[in-house]
Symmetry: C5
Subunit: 291 residues, 5 copies
C-alpha cells in the first residue's frame, strides 16, 4: 500500500478485502457505500463526484480469451489517488512505467493515464473479434454446421456483455468530460475527449459486430434452408426417375397374359421403355431448371 513514487500520493490496493482500504477510507474521508462498492463486485461502471473527491468504477479486460471484465476502482481527491483492483497488476504497472517516462507528478494526469490504459486494453479484443467474425463469415455460407452456430451464439452472448460494459464506460467518460469540479486540470480536456472518442469507437464497433453476427446467423439459416431444398430435390428427382422403372418391372412380373413374354426381344423393348421414361423425366426437370 506504499505510494508508488515517493513524490506522489498514489495508494494501490491489490485486495479490496484488506483492512488497508478501511484505513485509507478513514484517513481521506471516503464514503462507506463506495467502500462497499469496491468490495461487492461486479458493480456497474460509474463516476461520482462526492464532496471533495471523484469516485469511479472502471472495467478492465481481465482475460482476453474469455472476454471477462473486472472492476477497477479509483478515488481521486486533492492530494491522493487510490486504486482498488484485483491481483492483476498489468494496468498499474503500465501506467507506472508511462508516468516514470514522462516524469509527471500530477495525480489528475495519472488518473487520465489509468483510464486511457484501460480503454486501450479493449483494442486487442476488438481485433480478435473482427478476425473471428471474418472467419465465421467465410465458413458459414459453405459449411453451415452446428459448431459454427454454437460459435455465433457464443460470440453474440459475449458481445451482449461487452456492449453493456463499454456503454457504461462511455457514460463514465462522458461524466468526466462534463465534470465541473476543479480536480482535473483544464489542460487535460483534449486528453479526456480523446479517450471519449476511443470508447465511442469501441461501442460503435461492438454494434457493428452484433450486426455482422446477426447477418451471419441469417446466412446460416438460409444456407440450411437451401441445403434442405437441395436434399429434397435430389430425393424428388431420384424418386421420380425410379418409380416408372419400378412400375414397368412390376408390370412384366405379373402372372397374367402379358405382351412380349414370348418375344425374344421383349426384354430389350422393356429396357427401351425404361430408358425413354428416364430420359423424359430428366428432360422435364432440366427444363424446370432443377439442376
Amino acid at each position: 500500500m506504499e505510494p508508488f513514487q515517493s513524490k506522489l500520493a498514489w495508494f494501490d490496493v491489490a485486495d479490496p478485502a484488506s483492512p488497508e482500504l478501511d484505513e485509507l477510507a478513514q484517513r481521506f474521508g471516503l464514503h462507506e457505500l463506495q467502500i462497499e462498492d469496491c468490495r461487492h463486485r461486479p458493480q456497474r461502471p460509474k463516476a461520482e463526484e462526492h464532496d471533495h473527491y471523484i469516485f469511479a468504477v472502471l472495467k478492465h479486460m481481465h482475460n482476453e480469451g474469455e472476454l471477462t471484465f473486472d472492476d477497477f476502482d479509483v478515488f481521486l481527491g486533492p492530494g491522493f489517488l487510490i486504486t482498488v483492483r484485483n491481483a492483476d497488476r498489468t494496468v498499474v504497472e503500465l501506467v507506472r512505467t508511462r508516468a516514470d517516462q514522462e516524469g509527471t507528478d500530477r495525480l489528475d494526469r495519472l488518473f487520465y493515464m489509468i483510464l486511457d490504459q484501460i480503454v486501450d486494453g479493449y483494442q486487442p479484443v476488438l481485433d480478435n473479434l473482427a478476425d473471428e467474425i471474418s472467419e465465421i463469415e467465410d465458413v458459414v455460407l459453405d459449411k453451415p454446421e452446428p459448431e459454427t452456430l454454437a460459435r455465433i451464439f457464443f460470440l453474440k452472448r459475449k458481445l451482449v456483455d461487452f456492449r453493456r460494459v463499454a456503454g457504461g464506460m462511455r457514460e463514465v467518460v462522458t461524466a468526466l468530460v462534463r465534470r465541473e469540479k476543479g480536480l482535473l486540470g483544464d489542460d487535460l480536456d483534449p486528453y479526456f475527449r480523446d479517450v471519449y472518442d476511443h470508447i465511442v469507437r469501441t461501442v460503435d464497433l461492438i454494434e457493428t459486430y452484433r450486426d455482422l453476427l446477426s447477418g451471419a446467423l441469417d446466412i446460416y439459416l438460409s444456407a440450411v434452408a437451401n441445403r434442405t431444398n437441395e436434399v429434397m430435390k435430389v430425393l424428388t428427382i431420384w424418386g421420380t426417375v425410379a418409380l416408372p422403372l419400378v412400375i414397368i418391372t412390376g408390370f412384366f412380373g405379373m402372372n397374367l397374359h402379358l405382351p412380349w413374354t414370348n418375344n425374344p426381344h421383349g426384354t430389350e423393348y422393356a429396357v427401351l421403355l425404361m430408358a425413354v421414361s428416364t430420359v423424359a423425366i430428366l428432360a422435364y426437370f432440366k427444363m424446370k431448371r432443377w439442376f
Copy 2:
C-alpha cells in the same frame, strides 16, 4: 396499526381494506385518490410529492418461484410513515430488525431502508433466472424439444412482467433522487443513489436475459431446422441407395426372356450389380460431404 417503535410514528397497515387506513387518511390529510390506489391493486409503481407528504407505490417480490409482485404503498410525511401492504410481513420485519440494530429514529432513513429492502429482494430472483437461462442454453442445442421451447416462452413472459415492474421502480427511484422537498435528508443522497444503481443494474440484467432468451429461441429454431435437414438426408441417402436395388430385383422378376436366367451364376452377377450401384451412390454422397 400501533407504531412499531414507541419513538417512531411508523404505522403499518397489513390490510388495505381495513378502516384503519381511513382513520390514518383523515388524521394526516391523505388524498382520497391515493387511498383508492392503495385499495385497487395492482397500480403502476410511482412516487408523488403531494402537498406536505410523499406517496410511493412500490413493488415487492411476492413469490419468487412464480415471479409475482405485489404493491407496497408508503406515505412519508413530517412526523409520520405509513406503509400499506398485503399479509406478507417479510419486508417490514427485515426493515424493523435493521432499524433496531442501527438504533435509528429517523423516518426518512426508514423509508430508504424499505426501498433498499424491496430492491434487494429482486436479487435472488435474478440469480435464479441466470441459472435457469444457463441451463436452457446448455440443453437447447443438443436436445431441441418442445418442453424446452415451453420453458423459454414461460421465462420470456415472466421477464416481460419483470421488466415492466423494474422499469417503473427505476422511475420511482429517479423521482426520489431528484426530489426537491425537504422530507428526505440530504445526507441520504448517496444511499438513494446506491439504490438507483441497484435498480438500474436490475433493469440491465433483465434486458440481457431477454437477449439471451431470444438467442436461445434462435438456437432452438436453427437446431430444429438442422435436425429436419439431417432427417431428410438420411431418408434421401437411404431411398437413393435402395431404389436401384428395387429396380434390379424387379428387372429379374419380369416374366420376359431375360439374360442370365439359365446361368448358374446369374444371381451372383445380379448381386454384384447391386453392390456396385450401392457403392457408387454412397461414394457420390461421400464426395458431396453429405455424411
Copy 3:
C-alpha cells in the same frame, strides 16, 4: 340540445351533422376548423387550447366485441361545456348520474368525469384481451392450427389500432396535465394525474399484449416446424424400415437361380432376414434417440 341540468351550461349534441352545432359555434365563438373536426370523423385524439376555450377530441370504445372506437368531442370554455358525440348515450348518461350523485355544478369537474369515464371504458376490453391471449397461449403449443393463426393476426391488427388510439389519448391527457390556462381548477390536478396513470397503464398493457402475441406467433411457428420434423421422422423411419424388406422380397422374386428356392425352410430364412433387418434399423434409430 337543452342543458342537462338547469344550473349547468352543458350542451350535448348527439348528431354532429345537426345545425345545433353551428348555432353553438356561433354563440360561443368556436373555430370553424374544429367544427369541421367534429364532423369529419375519425380525427386523431388531441387537446387544443384555443383563445378562450379548450377543444379535445377523445376516443371512446364504441363496440367492445369488435374493438372499434368513435370520436367524442368536447369544448370547455368559461361557462359552457359542449359535447359532440354519435348516437351512443352511454358515456353521457354515466357522467350525468355521477354528477347528480356528487351534486357538483362545476364544468371542469364534469370535463374530468367525461375523460375518466372514457378511459375507464377501456378496462373491460383490456380484460377480455388478456383472457383471449391466455386462451391462445394455452392452445397454440398443442394444436398449432391455421384458425389459431388467424386469431393471432386478428388480435394483432386490433392491437395496432388500439395502440394508436391509446397513445393519442395519453398525449391528450399529458397536454391537459401540463395545461397553463385557468379553465381547469388546480384542485383537479390529482384527478387528472390519476387519469394519466390509468391511460399510461393501458398503453403499457397493450405493449405487453403485443409482446405476448408475438411470442404466441413464435410458438406457433416453432410448433409447426416441430411437427414437420416429427412427420418427417415418421416417414423416414418407416421408409428406412420398409425398403430392405422390399429389396429382400424382390430378390427372391427374381427369375434367376436363387438360393433357398428348393429349400422347404427358405421362406422362414427369408422372413428371419427381414426381421433381423427391421430390428437392426429400429435399434439404430433408438440409439440416435429418434423416438
Copy 4:
C-alpha cells in the same frame, strides 16, 4: 409566368429549367443554392427561412397508381409567391379555383392552400392502400401464392418511399407551425395546425400499413409452412399405408416355398392381410389426429 390574378403577385413556373426562374431569382433576391435545389430534383422536403423570405420544398403525389412523388418548390416573400413545379398543373389549378371562390388576395393564405392541397392529395392514395392491403390480407391465408408475395413486397417498397416523403413533409409543417417571422399571419395558426394534424395522421397510417404488411408477410410464411406440413403429412400417410402392401405382395411373389400358394383362398387371405394393415395404420394416424 404571368401572375394568375392581377391583384396577386403569384408567379407560377411550370419548367424549373426555364430562364424565367433566373429572372425571378434576380428580381426578388433568391439564393442561388435554392434555385439549384429547384432544378436538381428530387430534393428532400424542407422549409427554410432565408433573410426576407421562406423557401419550401414540398412533395406532391405525381401518379397515384405508381405512388411517385415530385418536388413542388415555393418561395414566399413580402409581396411575392413563386411556385416551381413540373408540367402537372393539378395542384395549382385547384388552389387557384379555391382562392377565386374565397376571393382571397393574401399570399400567406395561398401558401397555406397549396400546402393543404398537396397534403390532401395523399388521401386517395392512402385509401387505395388500405383497400389493397385488406384484399391481400383476405387472400394470403387461403392462397399463399408467389404473386401475393410479390404484391406484398411491392407495396412494402412503396411504403418505404412514402414514409420518407411524409416524414419529411411533417418536418416541413412542424417548421412552419413553429416559425417566428411575420410572413405568415397569426390567424392562420389553426389552419397550419390542421395541416399538421393531417400529415401526422398520414404518417401514422403509413406506419400502420407497414405493420399490417409485415403481418401479412408473417401470415404468408406461416401459411406456406403449414402447407408444406400438410403436403408432408399426405406423403407420409400415403407412403406408410402403401409400404406394407408392397411388402406383402412382394412376399407372395418370392420364388420360395411359400404358404398359401396352393390354397385356393390364398389370395383372399393376402387381401385380408393388406386390408387389416391399412385399417390399422389409418387408425393409428387418426388417433394421432393427423387428419
Copy 5:
C-alpha cells in the same frame, strides 16, 4: 508541402507520416493528440473547435468498387488551412480547380469546397448501390440462388460501414452548422446547410437501401420456402400416383391363386385398374388445387 496558390496559405500534406506535419504543428500550435489522430487511421469523423482553430476528420470515398473510405484531416485556423490525406489527390485537385475557376482566396470557402467535394463523392456510389439492389430485387424472386444470397449479405455488410461513416459525417456537418466561432463566414451558412441536406439525404438513402436489402432477404427466404413446398408437392403427387400401380403390379406378381391369370384380357383389366387409380388420384389433387 508548398502552398497551392501563392496567395493562399493552404498546406497539403500527402503523407501523414512525413515530418512536414510536425513542422506545421509547431508553426501553427496544433495539438499533439490531433496530430496523432492524423497518423493513427482510421479515426471516427469529428469536428473539434480547439482554441484558435477547427480540426475536422472527414471520410472520403477511397475506392468506389469496394466501398472503402479513408480519413481526410483538415485544420482551419486564422490564415492557414492544412489538409492531411493519403496518396489519393482527387479531392484536392478538384477543389483546387474549382477555387481557381471562382478565383476565390478565402480559406473558409476552400474548407466548404473540400467538405462539399467529399460528400459529393458519395453520390456515384449511392447510384451504383441503387442499381445493384434493383438488379438483386429482379433476380431474387425468380432464381433464389446462393450467389444472390451472398451478394445480399455482401452489400448489407458494406452498408453497415457506409452508414457508420455517413452518420459520423452528418454529426460533423451538424457541428459545423452550429459552430459559434468566427472562422467560417456567416455568408457561408446556406452553403453548409446545403451540404447538410446532402449528407442527411445520403443517410436516408442508406437506411432505405438497408430496408430494401432486408426485404430482398425476406423475398429470398420465402422464395426458397415456396420452392421447397413445390418440390415436396411434386414428390408427393408423383409418389401418391405411383404407389397404387406398384401395389397392383405386385399383386398380380404373387405366386397365389390369383384372379384373371388365365383370362386372356387379364392384362387389360389390370391396366384399366391402374389407369382408374391414376386418374382418381390426379382428380383428387386437382380438386385440392395442388397444381
